[in-house]
Amino acid sequence: MTRLCDPPIPVEVELSPEGAPGRITLGPLLGPLSPTARWLAETDWWARPVAREYWKVILNSELLCEVFHDLHQDQWFLERIYD
């Protein structure tokens, strides 16, 4: 169903006016994004808290992916590809 990028791959994302990911401008996959879902993931770790804003997006109208914005690092990552 999906391929997991472990560790997630850092990408650069250009946001749309609504604040959603609009385009990947730097990374292994490039192109416009069509977001289809969004959710937050937070876990409390005694050492390293994890807070991520996940987006399910369609890249270039053909490839369904999951990217997330690491809220602590302020960095976007590509994590999953549906193929």
């Binding site: 999906t2 472990d6 053909e62 369904l64």
Partner: protein, 251 residues
């Protein structure tokens, strides 16, 4: 002339056995492994994937090929003592397999470091008799597979292992080595209440050395969103196409 032909046939039988020269309808049947996905079993013509042969699942971008591969892998973990996922791209996610209720104790994931090691691993495991091998081949690995594909095919034939390669595009060597090839093509996205819940895909049997090629089927592949799905909800057949129907529909 007839005498010379008879003598030539006798020499072939002496050297290679009587099965070396036989009528087509006298050749031994290929054994099949039922995949648990009825749509796929129907497409092959032999009610399953052929044992001892290489099958290929190919398709670009999001088309459901990995979902299909995982469904077959999950069934293999239930049917065989050892099911192996060969993952040179290091992207295999067992979480995605859970939807198909696998027997995880029968699964081993092999992560070879490169094209040559991928061939070495696949061949060694086929030779050792692993029941099912799923090869998820990134493009660069598939492109460099030519040296080891014939060896893998021979090892699989001897042990009757089921080998399934999942690729974006099948390079010539893999196309040649395979006995069965499926092409996956996304025919649409599936949305429900504004949310993407899955894809619709057409799977066509484009090459078939064990039966008739050309048959197609439409599948719905649904992605779990929080609530767990039953395996039959993840992969559902929508419509079965045969070659004539597909051509007339296109027209």
């Amino acid at each position: 002339m007839q005498e010379e032909l008879t003598r030539a046939i006798d020499v072939i039988h002496l050297r290679f056995g009587e099965q070396a020269l036989a009528r087509v309808d006298a050749l031994p049947a290929v054994q099949s492994w039922p995949t648990g996905v009825e749509a796929i079993d129907r497409l092959t013509g032999i009610q399953g994937l052929p044992k001892g042969r290489i099958a290929v699942l190919q398709g670009r971008a999001t088309c459901g090929k990995s979902s299909l591969g995982l469904a077959l892998l999950a069934q293999a973990t239930r049917d065989f003592a050892q099911a192996i996922a060969i993952d040179p791209g290091q992207s295999f996610d067992p979480w995605a397999l859970l939807e198909f209720e696998p027997e995880l104790s029968a699964l081993t994931v092999v992560r070879p470091p490169g094209a040559e090691a991928t061939g070495e691993a696949a061949t060694a495991l086929a030779r050792a008799g692993a029941g099912f091998l799923l090869l998820s081949l990134p493009g660069r690995i598939a492109a460099a597979a030519e040296p080891w594909l014939p060896v893998l095919a021979a090892a699989a034939e001897r042990s009757e292992a089921v080998v399934l390669a999942v690729v974006e595009e099948s390079p010539r060597a893999l196309a040649h080595a395979s006995s069965l090839s499926f092409s996956c093509e996304r025919t649409g996205w599936r949305f429900e209440r504004g949310e993407l819940i899955g894809v619709q895909a057409r799977v066509t049997c484009v090459k078939n050395k064990v039966g008739m090629p050309g048959a197609s089927t439409e599948l719905e592949i649904n992605y779990p969103l929080g609530a767990a799905l039953q395996p039959e909800q993840v992969l559902a057949e929508v419509k079965q196409w045969n070659q004539e129907e597909r051509e007339s529909a296109v027209v």
